[in-house]
């Protein structure tokens, strides 16, 4: 099936999310759509899938123009989509999820046996190991993604759209997904692969289209090198490698011992974790989303009470102290979900820059807040961090992701710290801001602050870390130096112990490593 997008334009109020985009997807081709967060990739695919109606332009299937009024039209035309946030009902079984929307029935009753058989058949064809009677919420994300693919294939999708499919996967799972994509393409299914990760694009794509600010800025061959692709994506030359000086660790100031944290259901989320951290050192906590890293960071700040264990910072026990006391003790914290926990969207940039500092004498007058000092502080930070805003009075919620994150980081680093903890410091942030934030974090390290970075992005971990702790199901699988190869880290993220991971990585290098060491 030949799918063409002709001059697609989609506006949200004054914002042009897609600006006259042309795209041709040939049968059996893996077509990568590369662009930063907010470049308009997902909007374009939602138009293609019938979730949004385009303001201008048309979609053509095998040369015939078509109109999609809703997802059912797109599905009928043979377009399937695996969304970034899976569209699966957590309490349904795999068979129920796959049959939903095109159920086979016996009389008025659902024919679950037929659905089970279909799941087994498709699962066998692609080498998935999926139990049709498993409940979705009990499945790991990697398997849930396969259920999504089965869902699309059960409807005979000729074009499969994968929206940021690797965001939730370990490098090894990513590799398996790439293999599945190749298999599907070989069987004649066209694949649209949306991503912002350069490595994956080069590993799998036949054609690369780069989108920036809602418009196609060009296409590239998979042989193009990474900095070339990055420059197209961002619109200027980007330094992909952060050159940082080697760490100069000082005295050990933080020691975490046997930390045990349970969630509300009584499941262990942080399982007897112990580690030390020295002044002037960055410890990255790596792991696939949901393996206890976020909870570990929240426990250090006092947001979650641990069941057992201790956290001692410069001789003071933090466990049992309130969040306010811990902040006052000199802990800076960048939460994982900035729009929810890091900022008050309705408040101005200036107010957000002093959100947890209003008890600081710098911003206080005898009977209230020193508004002039708050304004002066805002002007200074906006300049220092290059925060792109209409002014200190603009609501923080209106800023772009990267600028919002700059506000949070600027606030947390605007006072002397004993410890700096940042969860996912660059999630959903544009490449330019990532560069800036990384530099700023290293700068903080170099002033002697111990830094903990929690990140699910291996690129970020490798760029920042002096030491890496890999977490899996609440435990630290191993503590490794910052220059540990990605393959080894990836295996450890799946729970493989360090020595075993080294051995397996040497035996089975992933595509990424082959690409890197190969002669491309």
């Amino acid at each position: 099936m030949l799918l063409e997008l002709r001059g697609i334009t989609k506006r949200f109020g004054p914002l042009v999310a897609n600006d006259h985009i042309d795209l041709v997807i040939e049968p059996g081709q893996i077509h990568a759509l590369l662009g930063e967060n907010g470049a308009g990739k997902s909007t374009l695919m939602n138009v293609l899938f019938g979730l949004y109606e385009p303001d201008e332009g048309q979609i053509a299937v095998d040369g015939t123009p078509v109109t999609f009024r809703g997802p059912s039209d797109a599905l009928a035309a043979g377009i399937g989509m695996v969304h970034q946030h899976f569209m699966l009902v957590p309490v349904f079984t795999v068979a129920e999820s796959v049959m939903l929307g095109h159920e086979s029935t016996r009389g008025v009753m659902l024919d679950l046996d037929a659905a089970r058989a279909q799941v087994r058949e498709l699962s066998a064809r692609f080498g998935f190991d999926v139990d049709p009677d498993a409940r979705i919420e009990d499945l790991p994300v990697g398997v849930q993604q396969r259920v999504e693919i089965i869902k699309a294939m059960a409807r005979d999708a000729k074009v499969l759209i994968l929206d940021e499919p690797t965001a939730v996967l370990t490098p090894q799972e990513t590799d398996e997904l790439i293999e599945i994509m190749r298999q599907l393409a070989a069987a004649g299914t066209s694949i649209v692969f949306i991503t912002h990760k350069l490595r994956e694009v080069r590993a799998v794509a036949d054609v690369i289209t780069v989108i920036r600010r809602g418009a196609v800025v060009g296409s590239a061959a998979p042989t193009a090198d990474e900095s070339e692709l990055a420059a197209m994506m961002v619109g200027r030359a980007v330094l992909l490698d952060l050159d940082k000086a080697p760490a100069q660790p000082g005295a050990t100031v933080l020691s975490v011992r046997d930390l045990l944290v349970l969630d509300r259901a009584g499941t262990t989320v942080v399982d007897e974790v112990s580690f030390d951290l020295a002044r002037g050192e960055i410890l990255a906590i790596a792991g696939v989303q949901g393996n206890g890293q976020s909870e570990l960071a929240e426990t250090i700040l006092g947001l979650l009470p641990p069941v057992a264990g201790s956290i001692v910072l410069e001789g003071t026990e933090l466990v049992g102290k309130s969040v306010r006391e811990i902040l006052d003790h000199g802990v800076g914290f960048v939460p994982e979900d900035r729009s929810h926990d890091g900022l008050v969207g309705e408040f101005s940039v200036a107010e957000n820059l002093v959100l947890d500092l209003i008890f600081d004498p710098r911003f206080r007058k005898p009977f209230g807040v020193d508004i002039a000092a708050v304004q002066a502080n805002a002007q200074q930070r906006i300049g220092e961090y290059d925060i792109r805003t209409q002014g200190p009075g603009q609501p923080a919620g209106r800023l772009s992701g990267g600028n919002q994150q700059k506000v949070v980081v600027a606030r947390e680093l605007s006072r002397p710290l004993r410890l700096f903890v940042a969860s996912q410091p660059t999630r959903g942030v544009d490449v330019g801001s990532i560069e800036f934030l990384h530099r700023r974090i290293v700068q903080e390290r170099d002033t002697g602050t111990p830094v903990i970075i929690v990140s699910t992005e291996l690129d970020e971990v490798s760029a920042l870390a002096d030491r890496i702790a890999v977490m899996y199901r609440g435990k630290i699988v191993g503590m490794v130096p910052g220059d540990t190869p990605r393959d080894v880290l990836g295996l450890m993220m799946a729970g493989v112990p360090l020595d075993e991971a080294r051995r397996q990585a040497a035996e089975n290098p992933t595509t990424e490593t082959i690409l890197k060491e190969g002669d491309l």
């Binding site: 899938f49 979730l51 949004y52 809703g70 997802p71 059912s72 599905l75 989509m81 969304h83 569209m87 699966l88 009902v89 957590p90 309490v91 349904f92 129920e96 049959m99 939903l100 929307g101 095109h102 159920e103 029935t105 008025v108 009753m109 659902l110 869902k151 090894q172 590799d175 398996e176 293999e179 045990l260 349970l262 259901a265 009584g266 499941t267 262990t268 069941v307 899996y472 199901r473 609440g474 435990k475 699988v477 295996l491 799946a494 729970g495 493989v496 112990p497 397996q504 089975n508």
Partner: protein
């Protein structure tokens, strides 16, 4: 290419419960001790409690059950204590006490209470059971109406109002036409009209569902009370003297001793309730319609992406649910009391909401919970007639106390449809 990932000692996720959860065992133990001390040892030896097993007009009269009060209470208390002990044992082994044992405990405890309360007197067991069933009817229909709506993601607080307008419409239409079945048809139509408003505001205009529901209840109370005072009262002869539904005895089944007359010599509304619970259960869990409805209530975006019309499904379900609740309202007038009185639903709609939650959003569970509320209410009225040692104000608390215990202790954590209460706005 394939790397072995899982199944390593490090990889074992395990559930750590540092302490066994003793909420249920302690509750059971405290209740058992109360039963032993108050009912068992508190009753005088030698007295008897008499429980009638037949209605006066039954063809076959069974002789009433005469029980030694102290002996029976002691025996039942011992059963309760045994179950409580087993429950402790299970808790320390990190196992859950099976549901049927909890139910058995409940039956034994309540029976001990009943035997103690009628010490030296007599009451009718069949009357108690039949009364429970009848009181449960509007609650069950209200809860079914709630299930319809919430399974599709709309919280229906307006059950109370729907019961009330159903009761009103049934009374007026049955009086005017002098046909009780016309009244039975009018009730769901009235409920549906109220549902139309609910769907319009919650689904189309995405207004907060709780607020709309509460407002509709106030509207229903105001409207029916006004019409009652202004129209029905002056013309009571023509507008508010509906004929009553006649009980229909089902051959064979109604001649089963004790339970036969209780369950199978009832009006058509009660039989409709039996049918509704079966049909609704099958429809919700075994048909295409049910699968789609549940998807809409759990994850509307997911339903949308496979081509299911989320808001159309919600519209339809709100109308179905409101009609069901309205139908249940007919019971108040043409099924039980006869004439309409202002605010005669008396909070049953809210109890229905609780029954739905207690029944974990399933039709069978809702019916069970409704029967439980019905029984508690009937027990209170039966006991107040007898003049028992317990103050009547305390007895009137019983149904609500039961709700708290049942929801907190026995059901545990309940999880409703994930998207209930959240309007679906595209894009």
């Amino acid at each position: 290419m394939s790397t072995v990932i899982d199944d390593r000692p490090v990889a074992e996720a395990h559930v750590v419960s540092p302490r066994p959860v003793l909420r249920v065992p302690i509750t059971l133990a405290v209740l058992s001790v109360i039963s032993l001390l108050a009912f068992g040892l508190g009753s005088e030896s030698g007295t008897t409690s008499t429980l009638a097993l037949s209605f006066r007009n039954d063809a076959v009269q069974l002789s009433p059950l005469v029980l030694n009060t102290k002996g029976t209470c002691l025996a039942l208390s011992v059963i309760c204590l045994a179950i409580a002990a087993y429950s402790f044992l299970a808790a320390f082994r990190f196992r859950k006490t099976p549901m049927w044992l909890n139910a058995l405990f409940g039956v034994a405890w309540v029976f001990a209470f009943l035997v103690w309360a009628v010490e030296g007197k007599s009451t009718s067991l069949v009357d108690l059971l039949q009364g429970s069933l009848l009181l449960a009817v509007p609650i069950a229909f209200g809860a079914f109406g709630g299930v319809f709506c919430e399974r599709a993601g709309v919280v229906n607080i307006a059950i109370e109002g729907q019961l009330l307008v159903g009761a009103f419409a049934a009374a007026v239409v049955a009086s005017v036409t002098d046909n009780v079945y016309a009244g039975l048809l009018a009730a769901p139509v009235a409920g549906c009209l109220l549902g139309l408003l609910l769907a319009l505001f919650t689904v189309k205009y995405a207004v907060n569902q709780i607020i709309v529901g509460v407002v509709l209840n106030v509207l229903a109370v105001g409207l029916t009370s006004f019409l009652f005072a202004a129209v029905l009262k002056p013309n009571a002869e023509t507008l508010n003297t509906p004929p009553l539904l006649e009980p229909i005895a089902i051959p064979v089944l109604s001649s089963i001793p004790v339970l036969g007359p209780v369950l199978f010599r009832q009006t058509i509304i009660v039989y409709a309730m039996y049918a509704a619970v079966v049909v609704l259960t099958i429809a919700l869990f075994r048909t295409r319609w049910g699968l789609r409805v549940r998807a809409v209530g759990e994850h509307p975006e997911a339903a949308d992406t496979v081509g299911i019309q989320v808001n159309r499904t919600r519209w339809r379900n709100v109308l179905w649910g409101s009609s069901t609740a309205g139908f249940g309202g007919a019971f108040f007038t043409i099924g039980y009391v006869g004439a309409f009185g202002p605010e005669m639903s008396g909070g049953k709609g809210y109890i229905a909401l609780a029954a739905m939650i207690l029944g974990r959003w399933t039709p069978i569970g809702s019916l069970g919970a409704a029967l439980l509320f019905g029984f508690a209410t009937k027990l209170v009225s039966a006991l107040s007639v007898l003049g028992t040692p317990v103050p009547s104000q305390f007895l009137q608390m019983l149904p609500y106390l039961l709700t708290i215990f049942a929801v907190a202790g026995f059901v545990g954590r309940v999880r409703g449809p994930a998207a209930a209460g959240v309007p679906y706005v595209k894009g």
